[in-house]
């Protein structure tokens, strides 16, 4: 089979960019594919073009620039706006751009698809004016759009970072509604000594909280019972309980966040074994310390293999690249192991804070298994109540719930509801298996598929 590269890397975020540079410098030909118009991933989105503009995004954002610059290497071919919709043994990647699909082959594939925000379902979360906090951050990075009088609600380090960025941009949120409780903080306390290895990140987080306090942003903690309704002027009436008291805040835009989870459609559709992790409450692919999976020729690195953040992702990306170089015969086993030392150390440091974060900012049970009135599947408008009813009527797994309710059958293919359906099933006593993902993992037109088949026949 003709190879288009030594390695195809899917995803140009921190893991994919770091891996591409490492592989290219060692002499490997790299094909880098990303669905977005330019490199950076979500965390460093548009960092290559923002330059000195939008300084409110902070130092850690600008730190992504060298990763983007390093892609300017003769051994790297980068294709943007490239939506991968099939990965197959061979290995082979089929991707689509502007309505045309093509196939690329290489002995190795590195999946670096990153994370998506964990869905935060509650009654009213589909209304215009309710968005994930991370989505607003993308709007800040790509369009300079700043939310007006926003309420930030949920928990997690990203929520504090976004609040701090909004303050620095001159668009402070009107309130911060936090779901973590004193109990969750106490549960996380034993993890703190280990987290000190990542002292820089802890200090950064405390700095954000100080900034939020100094800006006089109203704060509510121990919040639950989220509900959103539309006001007469098209705004959002956000009601919740905090410390046993009912509150209502009116805002043009409610931004929610409960952490991020691996985006696993690609790795699941590639046939890689996945498992459920109770600590991060998500599905993740099984990988070894080099990112190798059980499918020959396919590695996974970065947040797509388990949430660790941007620094961990870079280290993991480089480690996977070193392993691929070794498998390609470009690096001996000893050289691979020696070169991996700094990244192993970086990975250890970066991951040290995770057990603390995962425990302190764990998602609330009401978002894992939301109340009956909440829509679980946004595409097909299936409520949590519909799903519970299907379970009462005998559905005992993700596939049966899907057949009974259509949850997961819309264009997002379950990306927004897999975790919720799983949460509801498990709260009903079921032990749901990893949901299946099948190609095409992004919708494509039949005509595009037909054109690809013709192309294949002519080239065969």
């Amino acid at each position: 089979m003709m190879h288009d590269a030594d390695v195809i890397i899917v995803g140009a975020g921190p893991a994919g960019m770091a891996a591409a540079a490492t592989a290219a410098r060692a002499g490997a030909q790299v094909l880098l594919l990303d669905e977005q118009p330019r490199a950076g991933g979500q965390i460093f989105r548009n960092v290559g073009v923002n330059g000195d503009a939008r300084t409110y995004l902070g130092k850690d954002y600008v730190a992504g620039k060298p990763l983007v610059d390093a892609l300017d290497h003769p051994n790297i071919t980068a294709e943007y706006g490239a939506t991968v919709w099939r990965i197959e043994a061979g290995p082979r990647v089929i991707w689509s751009r502007e309505g045309e699909s093509r196939m690329s082959c290489a002995p190795h594939i590195l999946l670096a698809g990153g994370a998506q925000e964990r869905p935060v379902p509650f009654p009213g979360w589909t209304l215009p004016g309710v968005m994930p906090a991370g989505a607003t951050q993308i709007l800040m990075k790509t369009a300079g759009l700043l939310p007006r009088d926003a309420v930030l609600a949920g928990s997690g380090p990203l929520l504090y970072l976004i609040a701090a960025q909004m303050i620095d941009a001159g668009a402070p949120p009107r309130a911060l509604v936090e779901t973590q409780t004193i109990a969750s903080m106490l549960r996380a306390a034993p993890q703190l000594p280990r987290a000190l290895l990542a002292a820089r990140m802890l200090i950064k987080g405390l700095g954000f909280i100080r900034k939020i306090r100094a800006a006089g942003v109203a704060r509510y903690t121990g919040a639950s019972g989220f509900r959103a309704a539309m006001t007469e002027d098209g705004g959002i009436a956000f009601s919740f309980l905090a410390k046993g008291k009912a509150h209502q805040l009116n805002t043009p835009i409610l931004l929610t966040h409960q952490g991020v989870v691996p985006a696993t459609h690609m790795s699941r559709a590639a046939g890689i074994v996945h498992s459920w992790t109770d600590v991060q409450r998500a599905f993740q692919p099984a990988v070894d310390t080099w990112g190798r999976t059980d499918v020959p020729g396919i590695h996974v690195a970065g947040d797509g293999a388990g949430i660790g953040g941007a620094e961990a992702a870079q280290a993991a990306g480089r480690l996977a690249a070193l392993d691929i170089l070794h498998l390609q015969g470009l690096l001996s086993e000893d050289a691979r192991n020696q070169k991996s030392a700094p990244d192993r150390a970086m990975l250890r440091r970066a991951l040290a804070i995770r057990p603390f974060l995962d425990t302190a900012y764990a998602p609330l049970a009401e978002f894992l298994s939301p109340p009956d009135a909440a829509i679980a599947c946004r595409c097909e408008e299936v409520t949590a109540g519909d799903i519970r009813q299907s379970i009462q009527e005998g559905a005992n797994g993700l596939r049966q719930v899907k057949t009974a309710t259509r949850a997961g059958m819309g264009p997002c293919q379950g990306r927004m509801c897999d975790l919720t359906v799983r949460g509801i099933l498990s709260s009903c006593g079921a032990k749901p298996a990893t949901p299946r993902a099948r190609s095409p993992i992004k919708p494509i037109r039949l005509g595009e598929l037909a054109a690809l088949a013709t192309q294949q026949e002519t080239s065969a």
Binding site: P128, M131, L139, L145, R148
Partner: protein, 105 residues
Amino acid sequence: MKIASRFLTRPDAAAVHVTLDGVRIAAQPGDTVAAAMLAHSGDPARHSATGAARTAFCMMGVCFDCLVEVDGRPNVQGCMIAVREGMVLRRQRGLRPLIGGGHDA
């Protein structure tokens, strides 16, 4: 209902003009269609099969809530496509259609 944008007005910049349901609106170069629509107004960007109002949600190609008709082609992810001068956008109503056009309010 006409709802003001849920975002602050941006400093003036070179403008790209597109039409949304026949109305000419200004966007900024580099905006995605979804961003341009959010900057323009807080109105619904789509109505679902049950008639529920939706706007762009995840902004990263995951959720498909930003589906919009672009130059006659329905079900385009508005958050994944950049605005171009003269682009013709239509809000979708009801079940996702197989072909474009004929969805004017």
